[in-house]
Subunit: 298 residues, 2 copies
């Protein structure tokens, strides 16, 4: 959710009854501090900060969330053992994002309060095993004792109920909120996501750090580099710098990196976060009643 | 389900209350005829034959199912327009296996009675869009009027209920039955699947015909060919012939092609098909009650 989820989106989701998450991956330390303070001013409800450990400024971000008494931190893209104890010692609830049973167990051992089990269909950075949400959630559910939050491929109440049926205690939704009014993403990016169809995202850069992107000129250049068996160095050259900002924040749909989940194909309009939360919960309850009324199939 | 689902498995599933499917892809015409006749002798319940259109003998197989009055045919891996009318004219119920909305609509237009929406996590041949079951099923559900059968990643009652929550009218399970007592697969293959873990299967051969395989020596050779940018011709050389038979039917776990779904990681024992059907339905009903009792989360 880098370049998408700042204080506006996080506070809007929290005010609507969800748990809003500030995505700190794209932020300099002073920027995160500003977002956390604005988020606190905009909501009295709990909110969280996601700290992806592959970006710089992790240490500063950890210091910020502790100093600002952020109630919940989602760590991701790194070793859960590195920061969990320090965050827990500061009284913070820690959730670690994982894409495999192996890392879910590692996170549990590190003392996290919950894990996110995020499947192959998720946007942005992704696991190497390519395990989908449908397969991953029950595996993680059966392996750990802590609560499991399902992520990847979830953008409506049907998928939320499906995730609960698989054993999840809650769900995390990224792509749907990337297309909310309050998302910091460029309007052109949001519109592009809304118009996208199945097959428009693919997982790439598997040798460096697997990431799910929308197909565009930049994506094609990456694929062409693979086709000619480019070295990792050449690949990094193709990648260049600040592609994610260029694509998602500045709205350059051709040269930018457009991170979004497969479920983009099912997202049809840009709505306020509160409306999304309400729609999802209504669909969830409707499906719940339908499932209950199905009777025994047997 | 080639080399896995013959008359023994199909009749066992049908007798247990499911719809057993004979996989004809690996069969010569006379072999399919024998399996259909034995299946009829072994069950009074409806059963089906799957005809993947990418194998030879499609025309003979179509003639066989018509002559033998097989009640239901699942077509796959080809254009649904080619055989649907002929099969329907013979009074056969036709289901087409698809991996995208585009092909689901094409199948509906061709007059099929139902579609299978099969996600990226499925074993064996697979779609090019890599859309997962969680994302695909609601997209197909919203696009077509005919019943939708979810496939890929479904091996227990939890996943079955999840698929129903996504809008599916039924589910198709392959990998779980590949590991049944009645599956024709070699015991060594079944045991290997039971012992496998997440990440042990990957989708490969994307340029030829995408297929999900277990990692083994043969798989590594394919990946090495990709790493050196082998031509399609060289790739075909590496593939050789009869790899699927060698792996799944003859139990050569190193040199053979081992087709199975991601959900293999969650399959823990080889059981009779009837026990599998009963377990799945019990889990399904248990989950259904749990979901109904959840109350409103809102």
């Amino acid at each position: 959710m880098i370049w998408n989820s700042g204080w506006r989106l996080a506070s809007a989701v929290s005010n609507a009854g969800g748990l809003g998450i500030i995505g700190s991956g794209s932020m300099y330390p002073n920027v995160l501090l500003e977002h956390v303070r604005k988020c606190k001013a905009a909501t009295n409800k709990p909110f969280a900060v996601n700290i992806p450990m592959l970006y710089p400024a992790v240490e500063e971000h950890v210091a910020t969330v502790i100093a600002e008494r952020v109630p919940i931190v989602f760590t991701s893209a790194g070793n859960p053992a590195t920061w969990t104890a320090k965050l827990k010692d500061a009284g913070i609830t820690v959730v670690h994002v994982t894409a495999s049973v192996k890392f879910a167990l590692k996170a549990e051992k590190a003392g996290v309060d919950a894990v996110v089990a995020e499947g192959f269909e998720a946007g942005g950075h992704n696991g190497r095993e390519e395990t989908t949400t449908l397969v991953l959630v029950p595996l993680v559910r059966d392996a750990v004792q802590v609560p499991v939050i399902a992520a990847g491929g979830i953008a409506d109440g049907r998928a939320m109920l499906a995730a609960m049926a698989l054993g999840a205690d809650g769900v995390q939704m990224g792509s749907r909120f990337a297309c909310s009014v309050e998302s910091s993403a460029h309007p052109a990016f949001k519109q592009h996501v809304v118009e996208s169809r199945e097959g428009d995202t693919l997982l790439t850069l598997k040798e460096l750090a697997p990431v799910r992107l929308m197909r565009n000129k930049f994506f094609d250049e990456v694929q062409a580099a693979y086709a000619r068996c480019a070295t990792p160095e050449e690949l990094k050259q193709v990648l260049g710098r600040a592609r994610a900002k260029r694509g998602m924040f500045e709205g350059d749909l051709e040269e930018g990196e457009l991170e979004i989940g497969q479920v983009a194909a099912g997202i049809r309009e840009v709505l306020p976060a509160a409306v999304i939360v309400e729609q999802v919960m209504k669909e969830f309850e409707g499906e719940q009643r339908r499932i209950a009324a199905m009777g025994t199939a047997w």
